[in-house]
């Protein structure tokens, strides 16, 4: 005999207890520390900070631990914390030209002022599983060089000197920078909101879209003009003091794509830009973002919009993995009321067809 189900409350409490136990894993194995996650799973931390839109290594490491390594869940945890923080204002734009460089490469020039600096990269490793890493291992000290005194000029600035690339849109100090976490996104979106959306967007989603542009769906002839990784100063103009106060430095990865040129009979042709920026060392994300940013500028550059990566509403509405995972996974919440309504209609329609067939069949038999 059916009795109305009770005990949702107890079931939830028990599920949470079980989850905590599973999170801990085998208690005879030492518990992972936040310092270990932050130091040894640093790319995971960088991704969670970037898509969680909060630069805090320790909190990101905590989120990863709490989420049992599920990065989207960790991003969600960080976002839900971030949203409760008070806003004092926006910082001054960070100057990536003045970056303390740890890695800087250009695929457009063989050599350039400041040189090519490989830095810590997987790029030329052979992807052979390293059995030695299975055990604790000694690490040899890396080779070091003294840092260049002069700032490394950005490739886009070098090209810009000769007007070979379109100028980067100048900042308008009169216009406050948009924030889609404070104002709902409207279409068409301006550049600030587009870039904010892409910076918070899911790495996998942007990777696939960026990839699609390379395979002919909105091809835009990209060159990795420059990818740079390093530390930049963050400054904030406090009204009370009247000048920019340094808040500290953060690690960022910047990608400037140089793309297909545009021009006309009257306007000399020049290259166009796609821009990507991410917290920490997040090259894949920054590059994919730059490709998609450029693709989304189709309308502005007078290109025909034919591919998904050029469709602003499509891309910007579906890039957020916290939104996406929530809505996909909500399908596991009960839907029995709606299902019952569908079931009722389906049965009724089937009954009508059956009744109609019954009514028809004697006549049909007679005809046969």
């Amino acid at each position: 005999m059916y009795v109305a189900v009770k005990g949702g409350e107890q079931a939830i409490a028990n599920a949470h207890r079980l989850l905590a136990r599973e999170r801990r894993g085998d208690p005879s194995v030492p518990e992972v520390s936040l310092a270990q996650i932050s130091g040894q799973l640093s790319h995971a931390v960088d991704r969670v900070m970037t898509e969680g839109s909060l630069y805090d290594r320790e909190l990101a490491a905590l989120a990863i631990k709490q989420a049992r390594g599920d990065l989207i869940e960790a991003i969600f945890l960080l976002r839900a914390y971030r949203t409760t923080l008070p806003r004092f204002g926006a910082t001054e734009p960070v100057d990536t030209g003045a970056m303390q460089i740890r890695r800087r490469i250009s695929a457009a020039f063989k050599d350039l002022p400041g040189g090519q600096v490989l830095g810590p990269t997987f790029d030329y490793t052979h992807r052979l599983l390293d059995a030695e890493l299975a055990e604790a291992s000694e690490v040899t000290e890396p080779a070091r060089a003294t840092a260049e005194e002069a700032a490394m000029p950005r490739v886009s600035d070098l090209l810009g000197q000769d007007d070979l690339i379109e100028p980067s849109p100048a900042a308008d100090p009169e216009r406050p920078v948009g924030d889609l976490t404070r104002e709902p996104l409207e279409f068409p979106a301006e550049r600030d909101l587009r870039l904010q959306n892409l910076a918070r967007g899911d790495e996998g989603f942007l990777l696939a879209l960026g990839y699609s542009t390379q395979r002919g769906y909105a091809r835009n002839h990209p060159f990795a003009g420059e990818i740079r990784l390093g530390e930049v100063e963050v400054e904030f103009v406090a009204e009370e003091v009247g000048f920019a106060v340094p808040l500290g430095s953060i690690t960022v990865t910047e990608c400037q794509m140089i793309n297909q040129f545009k021009g006309s009979a009257t306007e000399p042709p020049c290259f166009t830009r796609g821009y990507g920026l991410a917290f920490g060392h997040s090259e894949r994300k920054a590059m994919a973002m730059a490709l998609v940013d450029r693709a989304l500028r189709a309308g502005e550059l007078g290109e025909e919009r034919t591919a998904p990566a050029q469709d602003e509403e499509f891309v910007l509405s579906h890039s957020d993995n916290v939104q996406a995972t929530g809505f996909v996974e909500h399908l596991k919440l009960p839907h029995y009321v709606d299902f019952q309504a569908e079931l009722g209609l389906l049965r009724r329609m089937r009954a009508e067809i059956a009744a109609a067939a019954e009514g028809e069949s004697p006549a049909r038999e007679a005809a046969e």
Binding site: A4, I12, F327, H330, L345
Partner: protein, 286 residues
């Protein structure tokens, strides 16, 4: 007691003020979807973040809160959301529909008629009734602005042509105050008539889609239909096996693996109160 570090009902007061402004605008333009700066909430999108934000913004210390999902107070997400507000706002909670001043719901409207002292807050996944006909927001906003709802009528007509019925059984579109076509959230169409001339204020929150809309008390709400195919608030033709009600929306419960089924009220509070009344009458007559 409030949870440490969080404001009453979780959201900070600035956010609440912004949401209340959106709610006021929504009430002033019945059925119109007002964009609002939806926040990230500590529960996932799709779990009722829109409804939670609306509730958090209207909740006062004296309010009595009821939360239902699928009509029931004891479904896991209803339990979880009720606990959230009990913890962050410290408000009194109830399962009794007449006692509640704020009722947050997913997928149902209570069977008990609501009164003027009550607010019904709906959790809405897709606020745009035209979304499945036109995926672009820029287009659908234009269509609403021009009251250009021909596409919707064509869709309903095509249903009839193809299936002999309007094949929409839930989230059945309504026209509010003779102007805006509105999505009632995925409530079964059985519930649509309850929205019309309802004494309670009805608020709709869509968190992921960042929209709030409203039906003020005693507003005309009409389900779209045709003269020769009038709207019908359909339900399973059976009576509840627990309380005997034959005019409520029923859940179908599979009782065994040889086709055994039974029907019970989806609204657990309504069903429990009827069952208790029945028992009292039986005891009194004994």
């Amino acid at each position: 007691m409030n949870a440490p570090g969080y404001n009453f009902a979780y959201l900070d007061e600035q956010t609440k003020r912004m949401i209340r402004r959106a709610i006021l605008k929504a009430i002033a333009i019945p059925g119109y979807q007002v964009p609002f700066a939806s926040r990230e909430m500590p529960m996932p999108y799709g779990w009722g973040t829109g409804g939670v934000q609306v509730t958090a913004s209207i909740l006062g210390a004296d309010d009595v809160l009821k939360v239902i999902d699928q009509g029931a107070d004891d479904t896991t997400n209803a339990v979880s959301l009720r606990q959230f507000f009990a913890k962050t706002a410290g408000v009194r909670t109830t399962t009794l529909t007449p006692e509640a001043t704020v009722i947050q719901t997913r997928h149902r409207i209570p069977e008990t008629r609501l009164g003027e002292h009550q607010v019904l807050v709906y959790q809405v996944p897709i606020p745009e009734p035209l979304r499945f006909l036109e995926p672009r927001e820029t287009e659908t906003r234009r269509m609403h602005a021009h009251a250009d709802y021909g596409l919707m009528h064509v869709k309903l007509y095509e249903d009839i042509a193809r299936h002999g019925h309007i094949a929409t059984t839930y989230a059945y579109p309504v026209k509010v105050d003779g102007r805006y076509v509105m999505d009632p959230s995925p409530t079964p169409k059985f519930d649509n008539p309850k929205m019309n001339d309802c004494a309670a204020l009805q608020l709709f929150g869509a968190g992921r889609e960042k929209r709030i809309y409203a039906i003020p008390p005693h507003t005309t709400v009409v389900s779209l239909d045709f003269e020769d195919h009038p709207f019908e608030a359909s339900r399973t033709q059976a009576a509840c096996e627990l309380c005997g009600a034959d005019d409520t929306f029923l859940d179908e419960v599979v009782t065994d693996d040889c086709g055994g089924r039974m029907f019970v009220c989806s609204d657990t509070d309504y069903c429990e109160r009827r069952t208790a009344e029945k028992q009292q009458v039986e005891e009194a007559s004994r």
